[in-house]
Symmetry: C2
């Protein structure tokens, strides 16, 4: 059961954005059919991999989809995929892809087979040129605003944040286009580029305007929060914590927890600031941090957590991926219904998350594993394209399609 | 005109995720009404700000919405917002918020007024506890995987990536719930937490599985790409470029461009790698980078761009926000229809982006500015709630609502 039950999406994809867009829909109940070349596409062995070659990335990004393995260089293979993309029915005829929309996958060719097709295409640059998260992020300005104060070398983010945002935009665009088709019968081609997603967000967040209107380029400020009080501190037991005070209430909670209230009037006089103001707490942050640091340096993470939580301080401990997996209730399969340990074929037991969206009128399903490549080839050809078992056998013998290896 | 024309969404929000979710819908044509306390909510002066107090952040995040300024601590103000949220009509009755769903904004109270309400609520932690991007990211593991190789201190990302992903999830959840209501008449409460969005993504990308299945914690590797060849290099004119080769074709383009082909067999022998394999190019990356670096160090960015583009190399220059604004055609209002210079009241001329989604059957509208606080108060009370001008005057005189200052 899911909010998108019945919706059929065909996905031709690689890497992060398009597979994530498809998985977002699949985890809400859509029937997402991913087609890949026999033996796997370009992202089938993306690192990290198990010693025997199962990609933990690929299996993570394709959970709950069906897999069709097909030789898309062959005319018969192209016809199978085309028939699937343009299959009749009000919930079919939806295609999500980051492959070039040209040749047999051009909008013209596909739309000739189904006029009300919804075709969502993800690009790198808006002109169709190549761009990936790793080349868009350096251009975004963020690399020069990340890392230690005073640093002049750019620091890349590790999270493929622009890919993620692009995949989510693709899902939004697909649902919006499907809403139009349901109401008017009109299908369409929807395109979105990684660069447009990234750079509109730079503008949305005020960075472009800060350069344009104020003539200010935001420099790197370490782990400090910009425009309010927020900084990381070491603890007595060699952990680190991020402490944040945006609202006045959060600031008062922090002041009470670390018992620095009596010294604040002196700080206000010395730095000519009003610490009831968010921006002034940012301006005086080094002095404030110097007052706060000893309290944290004398206490263990456990002791800090107890006091901070009692006072309602907004804070968080730094964790490695391992600590997140093992120490944090929020990814525990026992404590959080979003997470489960599932058996992923070829990989074994692995902690995965379902959709982070919870719907009150729809029961949450447990997350499903990624398919084995070609796992649903026969099922799809028979049930969706109405092929006989002898036709399927002929295609398999000709190397046009393949079942699971 | 827009894909979501007609859809009415009431937004009660602050900071990044919920405002972004609402703006995503507004930029696709939805009528998004943001209500704020008179004088502005907690994010109304979020930095960066102009000298006279106009937030470049707030105006960036609220483009194309309507603004209602109302005293939500008063019973009359709460009744106005409640009536707006639960207004009749198939396209109304949709509420997006990151405020606590309690008291007068509880699901029970609102649903008593409209049973098929769609209520999308954004949380910090899945149990309703406080968490913000700045406390969730340290817990995600990414801070310990970001920054220079060998570094042991965590590096925060500056982009509020989890907020962005959460806002986009909220938009997807809202459209999915609206699709269910259109088909079945059933409304519902949809919740999504920042922590669930972040940590399911850590799992989706294979990081949790790498820790769980392989016992490996991903260390920081500077600006190197993981699992393939990608690194930043300095140029002769003090710029830096990111060079990426994921596919074999991209690798071959790079090898040809920087003319290192003759040396590769020696590298393969010395490091026992097969450079036709993506993972082996990652393993031998220091040696490969040492071969490539001199070619870039001897050339200007312009000269590099000419050769790289001729060969189809996947690459990008590092830019500051200022360079992005002034040097990159992808944010030029002349060259890219997504971007426009608009007049933002109180701020002046500012470069903004519209929706990054392009729909073939719907003309692109120019991006609209953010409203002045309370700009649409009178219009909304009159047209949406059917109030007379004397009623509106009474509410304004009582300080329950306010027009633009």
């Amino acid at each position: 059961m899911g909010a998108l039950d019945g919706l059929r999406v065909v996905e031709g994809s690689a890497f992060v954005a398009a597979p994530l867009g498809g998985m977002t829909l699949a985890q809400l109940g859509a029937d997402v059919i991913r087609f890949d070349n026999i033996g796997g596409g370009i992202d089938f062995h993306r690192w990290p991999e198990t010693p025997d070659g199962h990609s933990l990335f690929w299996t993570g990004m394709n959970k709950g989809k069906r897999s069709l393995a097909v030789d898309v260089r062959s005319r018969d293979g192209q016809e199978i995929v085309t028939a699937l993309i343009t299959a009749p029915g009000p919930d079919c005829g939806v295609f999500l892809s980051n492959f070039p929309a040209s040749g047999w996958l051009s909008d013209e060719r596909l739309r000739a087979r189904r006029e009300d097709l919804i075709y969502v295409n993800i690009l790198g640059n808006p002109d169709g040129g190549t761009a990936v998260d790793y080349t868009v992020n350096p251009a975004s300005g963020f690399a020069y605003a990340t890392g230690p104060r005073g640093g002049s070398l750019p620091t890349n983010h590790v999270l493929p944040a622009w890919d993620i945002s692009t995949g989510m935009h693709a899902a939004v665009g697909l649902l919006a286009a499907e809403r139009v088709r349901t109401r008017t019968g009109v299908g369409q081609f929807v395109s979105v580029s990684l660069a447009d997603v990234a750079f509109t967000m730079v503008a949305n967040l005020g960075y472009l305007a800060q350069a344009q209107v104020l003539g200010e380029a935001r420099p790197p400020i370490g782990n400090d929060m910009y425009g309010a009080f927020g900084r990381d501190f070491p603890t007595a037991d060699d952990r680190r914590v991020m402490v944040v005070a945006i609202s006045l209430r959060q600031w008062q909670s922090l002041v009470d927890a670390v018992e620095i209230g009596e010294h604040l009037p002196a700080i206000e006089r010395a730095f000519r600031v009003d610490l009831t103001k968010e921006g002034d707490r940012f301006r005086a942050r080094d002095a404030l941090a110097a007052l706060i640091a000893p309290w944290l340096a004398e206490r263990s993470l456990t002791a800090i957590a107890r006091v901070f939580d009692k006072h309602g301080v907004c804070w968080g401990a730094y964790q490695t991926f391992d600590q997140l997996l093992n120490d944090d209730w929020r990814v525990s399969a026992d404590a959080n219904p979003v997470f489960r340990d599932i058996d992923q074929p070829g990989v074994g037991k692995v902690r995965v998350g379902g959709s982070p969206l919870a719907f009150s009128a729809i029961d949450r399903d447990d997350p499903r594993p990624a398919p084995v490549l070609g796992e649903h080839t026969e099922q799809i050809l028979a049930e969706e394209l109405g092929m006989s078992s002898s036709e399927i056998a002929r295609l398999r013998d000709a190397g046009t399609v393949a079942g699971p290896a």
